[in-house]
Amino acid sequence: MTTAPTTHAAALALGDDALVLSHRLGEWAGNAPVLEEEVALANIALDLLGQARVLLSLVGDEDELAYLREERSFRNLQLVEQPNGDFAHTLARQLYFSTYQRLLYRELATGDTPLTGLAAKAVKEVAYHQDHAEHWTLRLGDGTPESHRRMQQACEALWRYTGEMFQPLDGLDIDWPQLEADWLTSVTGVLERATLTVPEGPRTGAWAAGAGRQGLHTEPFGRMLAEMQHLHRSHPGATW
């Protein structure tokens, strides 16, 4: 009758993306380069956490899903689980992911699935995240020689995690090759305006195309989950 079950996998994948990236951004609290940016990063983290809670609740209990699944059951992209690194790495990750999320949610917002409502709200949030990432990419790329070097390095380091974003998600009626083409146009445009070189390397790792979406993650993710889940798991059945 309803289309819900067929979008469960997609809701889980997108919910995990938002949950994990929100967590990573939360690690910046108290460490941002300037107070104004503390506030900005926290706003983005809170938007993402809000999205994660809605998406995971479409699938089941948000806390059970966040705190009681094992690493191999998470469906987020490897991109979002990458450690923060320096501010350049965090912003390169933001640029890649927010561009993807904006393009994807714009499509989802016009459809008629259980994800439509969330997508329509989230696309505005994500548009701001992309704007934030774009403005910083320009400033870091075209700032000082040091910031240019760091941003170039960050863009290259994360490039290999960007191919995975366009693995089709079951139940979503999306023209994935078109989404990928739009993403490349958008990101390439920003990088060029920022005087950065568009990385030339492969956009997927040799051994793990589509890895995060299939539950294969990178080493830092296990440690991230250990930290995130430890307290909840130490008190089974407790309410907080």
Binding site: V34, E36, V39, A40, H135, R139
Partner: protein
Amino acid sequence: MTTDGWPLWEVFVRSRRGLSHTHAGSLHAPDAEMALRNARDLYTRRNEGVSIWVVPSTAITASSPDEKDPFFEPSADKPYRHPTFYEIPEGVKHL
């Protein structure tokens, strides 16, 4: 006054359509575009605004407190500028 070369900006927020922009506070930003974004993140995160102005603090010319008397006192003795100055016979309406 700067923070690592980031000038100070004054932020004005319109809380609802139909109202003027009101001074909300200040912040540091490297340029106008970032100032606007920082202002959005800082001064409207509880849904306080529908429009924002940012102005470099150095661009504001203010009246000096030393000129307070010549500036503002002369307007204190002109009650005929206010409607309550005039006596109207009782019963006259729409005036």
